[in-house]
């Protein structure tokens, strides 16, 4: 990906790194927001329909702030909508976990707990980022993420420590999704550069806090923590599962069919 204009005293290389890093965060929010939106009108109860739709809205809100910022860093005049709707499959930099299908309500909740806890630890630390814009976005978002985790972990406790059926379903979802969490914390050159520049926290530090928090939630929900197995997923580098293609097909349909359409 090429970045035309360096800004705010950044070199071209620094601007390119920051652009990609902000896309990683923004695409995570965008894709998960789109996924959660699929529940609207299909949730098990009206309250859960409202809950998932509200979390989806917050995710889209995060994505808007982050993708707008990415567009400014890039300096080629792309606005949030251009970046959200007019990129190709391989240009999305979200981790694969967020593109995994919703499955049943339990699987959606498991995915949500894993991501909410990740965003919480990430944003709490990023509120002190050397990049003031990212610090402001993180400080704003973390308040909402805390509320998301309260909702998702509350459901995980009820399902995990509920009936034999609900327990078996969320335990199975946890086994299925666990390996995708590896990617969240797999530090590559970009993550390292961001931490070195004080833009983002060290992923090892985020992982330690996440791991402890998730461990507590799983224990309370009487769920077994799956074994860590080595995996290499590269959603953060634009190598995705087949699921993302279907998400984008639906999400981008309107802008692809009627370019420039506005509300």
């Amino acid at each position: 990906m090429s970045v035309a204009v360096a800004n705010a005293g950044r070199t071209d290389a620094e601007a390119r790194d920051l652009f990609c890093f902000v896309l990683r965060l923004g695409d995570l929010s965008l894709v998960l927001g789109q996924r959660l939106g699929e529940w609207v009108g299909h949730s098990p109860a009206l309250e859960e329909d409202l809950g998932l739709a509200n979390i989806a809205l917050d995710m889209i809100g995060q994505a808007r702030l982050l993708l707008s910022y990415a567009g400014e860093i890039e300096g080629r005049g792309r606005a949030e909508d251009d970046i959200a709707f007019l990129r190709e499959h391989g240009e999305y930099l979200n981790p694969i976990l967020v593109e995994m299908p919703n499955g049943d309500f339990g699987q959606t909740i498991v995915r949500q707990v894993l991501i909410d806890a990740f965003q919480l630890e990430m944003f709490e630390r990023m509120a002190a980022s050397a990049d003031q814009r990212l610090a402001a976005i993180a400080a704003k978002s973390v308040k909402e993420v805390r509320y998301h985790l309260r909702y998702s972990s509350g459901w995980l406790l009820r399902l995990g420590d509920g009936t034999a059926e609900s327990h078996a379903r969320v335990q199975s979802a946890l086994e299925n999704l666990w390996s995708y969490t590896v990617e969240l914390f797999a530090e590559d050159d970009l993550d390292k550069a961001m931490a070195d520049r004080g833009v983002a926290p060290r992923l090892s530090e985020v992982q330690a806090a996440w791991s402890q928090r998730i461990g507590e939630i799983l224990a309370e929900a009487t769920l077994d923590r799956p074994k860590d197995r080595p995996h290499s997923w590269h959603g953060k580098r634009g190598q995705h599962s087949e699921h993302l293609g279907y998400i984008l097909t639906e999400m981008q349909h309107l802008q692809r069919t009627y370019p420039g359409a506005r509300w």
Binding site: G33, E47, L50, G51, A53, N54, I55, A56, L57, D58, M59, I60, G61, Q62, R64, L65, Q132, A135, A136, I137, A139, K140, S141, K143, E144, R146, Y147, R150, Y151, G154
Partner: protein, 179 residues
């Protein structure tokens, strides 16, 4: 009168004009209702962060979103711009203020009173209290004031509200989330 005094007079007059514009802007903003909760204004909700006369003569109005994904944010911005345009305050610009992040603590005493009258329980002070965040505190019923209430949903009809029910009078009610 010497030149320095004249200059002083001129700058005092300019300051007075700026202060008038700022006052008129605040008055116009106080008329802008929240599109989802028309009982309160954007000023009551603490969404207006600053009204400043810039040296270049432009009046800057800083506006904060409540929730990052709140669909009302753009409608609010539109209404704010419309109200300011009609207020004879000269050139102005509405900027988005993200930091520090909006908190439900910034809802004014007047705003809290209006919310309660409207049937929405205002948020706990303060948003930094663990209890408020975890939702462990009883929320009093806005109708019968009983504290024997329960939360029925973490999320409500807008991003800023949760649903509760009073076990005493059996009425459902909304609670403005503490954030």
């Amino acid at each position: 009168m010497n030149a320095a005094l004249l200059e002083n007079d001129a700058s005092m007059a300019a300051n007075a004009r700026a202060a008038q514009r700022v006052a008129r802007a605040w008055a116009a903003l106080a008329l802008v209702e929240d599109p989802e909760i028309p009982a309160v204004s954007v000023v009551d909700l603490g969404l207006i962060r600053c009204v400043t006369a810039r040296p270049d003569g432009v009046l800057e109005v800083g506006l904060s979103p409540t929730y990052v994904g709140c669909p009302a944010t753009e409608v609010i911005r539109h209404f704010v711009t419309e109200s300011l345009s009609a207020a004879d305050i000269g050139s102005f610009v509405v900027t988005s203020v993200l930091s520090p992040a909006w908190s439900s603590d910034w809802i004014s005493a007047e705003g809290r009173r209006k919310l309660l009258l409207y049937g929405i329980v205002p948020p706990e002070h303060s948003s930094t209290m663990r209890d408020g965040l975890r939702g462990d505190r009883p929320v009093g019923c806005p109708r019968c004031h009983s504290t024997d209430t329960e939360r029925t949903s973490e999320f409500g009809s807008t991003p800023c509200k949760a649903l509760h029910r009073c076990r005493a009078c059996l009425e459902p009610f909304e609670y403005f989330k503490c954030i």
